[in-house]
């Protein structure tokens, strides 16, 4: 019986064929914590008797969630991370460097075939590179920093087949919203997703990161793309590490298959307060929007800013709407400045905040008021997510968010794309 990609990667690490449902202890290639989870990991590391980390070059701590610090309490936690990094030699990404899930691939820490954990649920983002990468908690991270290992239950896999070409005004975000609509918020719990189909070769690395990033929104452990020219050349140009890509067997057995005819997709929006509450944009068109947000580990990359700039070039956003942009990393910001995208967006009325998580998680940088509607490129619209349980969050592609900022209400991006 053939192996799925998740099985093949774990088997290679363990050094023998592993079967689904089995619990395996695996050596890790890289691990990460952010400022919401690292302080607890450091505390637990010490409680466990940790003196030094197993390999400082394989661990990164990222200050991205509340960055720069909005208050005294957070400042103390950041201080704790910086001290730990100095003491142990682990890699530290400090304020303004960017969102953890942009930094790990961008800085070459992840390559195809890797097994990676991060104390952050969207660690599954690196599945775009064909790496088995998944989110864990702080205690898992602490145990991994000491031992270099963690345990996994070998997941079953749902095969997702994407066929056809993306229509005008429809983007990778819309592909995932369609997946969320079909699978629902817990449709893939404990499972792996594996992407196949003719659409994939036309998707850039940025577009694939968007899709892999949201695997957790249907409960999945990982969202894996098969390595191809696009991902292998991305890894080669960003990382100095040698790697051998891993592939699934032709006769792999999947728990389920979902086929999506991408030709037929239209812009989609996830309405409050769950990610799977997905509706065709037409149903929500005209909903007034007080705040639009472009950023996050889902859609804060250069391609996303470029799409927004194409729609907003030479125009002004609606005076009753705020547009906040948080580039996913310093590198993304620099490239946006260099290419002129930054100025186009500023001129249109956008406000830029520090590269990092920005308003996504509700600690600062754009907390909405009571009763306000927000349209965001993020991956979550839970009640209170952006810091106010009395606000309403709609999730959409960068194009839909930009068009909505322009009109001050949920708007169809297809009007603005030629």
């Amino acid at each position: 019986m053939g192996m799925t990609l998740a099985q093949a990667i774990l088997s290679k690490k363990v050094g023998r064929p592993v079967s689904e449902g089995e619990i395996v202890l695996v050596d890790l290639d890289f691990m990460m914590g952010q400022d919401g989870t690292s302080p607890l990991a450091i505390k637990v590391f010490k409680e466990m008797g940790g003196k030094k980390v197993f390999d400082p070059s394989k661990i990164a701590l990222v200050i991205d969630h509340s960055s720069p610090s909005p208050n005294h309490g957070v400042s103390q936690l950041h201080d704790m991370m910086r001290k730990f990094a100095r003491e142990t030699g682990v890699i530290l990404y400090d304020i303004g460097d960017g969102v953890c899930h942009q930094l790990l691939p961008e800085m070459g820490h992840v390559v195809p075939g890797d097994v990676v954990i991060g104390a952050d649920s969207h660690t599954c983002t690196y599945g775009a590179l064909g790496a088995f990468a998944t989110g864990v908690g702080s205690t898992d991270l602490a145990a991994a920093m000491i031992s270099g290992k963690t345990w996994f239950k070998v997941p079953e896999t749902i095969k997702i087949i994407l066929n056809g070409n993306l229509p005008k005004g429809v983007f990778s975000k819309d592909i995932f919203l369609e997946i969320a609509r079909r699978l629902t918020a817990d449709g893939a719990t404990y499972k792996a997703l594996e992407y196949h189909g003719s659409t994939i070769s036309e998707l850039s690395m940025d577009a694939r990161f968007t899709i892999a990033n949201m695997a957790i929104e249907v409960g999945a452990k990982v969202g894996l793309f098969l390595p191809d020219d696009v991902s292998i050349s991305y890894a080669r140009s960003h990382s100095k590490r040698n790697f051998v890509p891993v592939f699934p067997d032709k006769d792999a057995v999947y728990e389920n298959e979902v086929e999506i005819d991408v030709n037929k997709l239209t812009p989609l929006v996830a309405a409050p307060h769950t990610v799977d509450n997905v509706k065709p944009l037409e149903e929500l068109e005209g909903t007034p929007i007080q705040q639009a947000f472009i950023g996050t580990c889902t859609n804060g990359r250069l391609e996303d800013l470029e799409i927004a700039a194409r729609i907003l070039a030479g125009k002004k956003i609606n005076p009753d709407t705020r547009l906040i942009i948080a580039p996913a990393s310093k590198k993304v910001l620099k490239e946006a400045v260099k290419s002129g995208i930054f100025e186009v967006l500023l001129d249109a009325g956008a406000v830029f905040v520090t590269p990092g998580c920005g308003a996504c998680v509700g600690t600062h940088n754009g907390v909405p008021a009571d009763g306000e509607n927000v349209i965001s490129t993020a991956n979550r619209n839970f009640k209170g997510r952006m810091g106010n349980p009395n606000a309403f969050i709609y999730l959409a592609s960068p194009a839909t968010v930009a068009a909505s900022a322009l009109e001050g209400k949920i708007a169809d991006p297809r009007k603005y794309i030629s």
Binding site: I23, L25, D35, G36, T37, P39, L40, K43, V44, E47, M48, G49, H65, S66, N71, G73, V74, L77, A119, D120, S121, G135, V136, G137, S138, T139, D140, A142, A143, I146, S147, K149, W151, A185, D186, T189, Y190, I216, G219, K221, T274, V361, G362, T363, R380, F382, K383, G384, R385, G387, P389
Partner: protein, 165 residues
């Protein structure tokens, strides 16, 4: 061993933002302080209604959302003895095992808010005393019982110097 307490019932898809809001997570590492705010966005008085040993009972996909370990830790520090749900989100599941919070997957349609429950973890049985019915559940895998009985992953590491199963 048996666990006794009252059921506090919630619905499906209770995410970690509901369990403990990010507003508090970033403020402190003091779990007893965080414990006072659990479920606050769903029920502002929740903490004051809890008695030590009570159970949180929910539908499917409990603990979905972020990987914040503060969620199971805050529940544990609120003296909730177990969470019973139809299913759990995977990171929440690992985190709970790691911090030593017991999770039970069972048919919670048979439990209403306020029901008195007795749980027999080894036997895989929930006795709903109020309703006079028994609800069976699948016992936990061995390695989890090992970590839970060591008192969580910290104690497990202290005792064995690393993973041991």
């Amino acid at each position: 061993m048996e666990l006794k307490g009252k059921a506090h019932k919630f619905g499906d898809d209770i995410n970690t933002d509901y369990i403990i809001s990010g507003r508090y997570k970033f403020k402190t590492l003091d779990m007893n302080e965080l414990a006072k705010h659990i479920m606050e966005d769903l029920d502002p008085d929740f903490y004051s209604k809890l008695n030590p040993g009570d159970f949180i009972v929910a539908g499917k996909n409990f603990g979905c959302g972020s990987s914040r370990e503060q969620a199971p830790l805050a529940i544990k520090h609120a003296n909730v003895s177990a969470v019973i749900a139809k299913s759990f989100a995977r990171i929440f599941f690992r985190n709970s095992v790691n911090v030593g919070l017991m999770l039970i997957e069972a048919d919670t349609d048979l439990i209403d808010d306020g029901d008195e429950l007795v749980i027999l973890p080894k036997e895989g049985l929930i006795k709903n005393v109020t309703k006079g019915i028994d609800i069976p559940f699948k016992p936990l895998p061995d390695f989890m019982i090992k970590i839970l009985s060591d008192g969580g992953l910290v104690e497990h590491f202290k005792k064995h110097g690393g993973y041991s199963f």
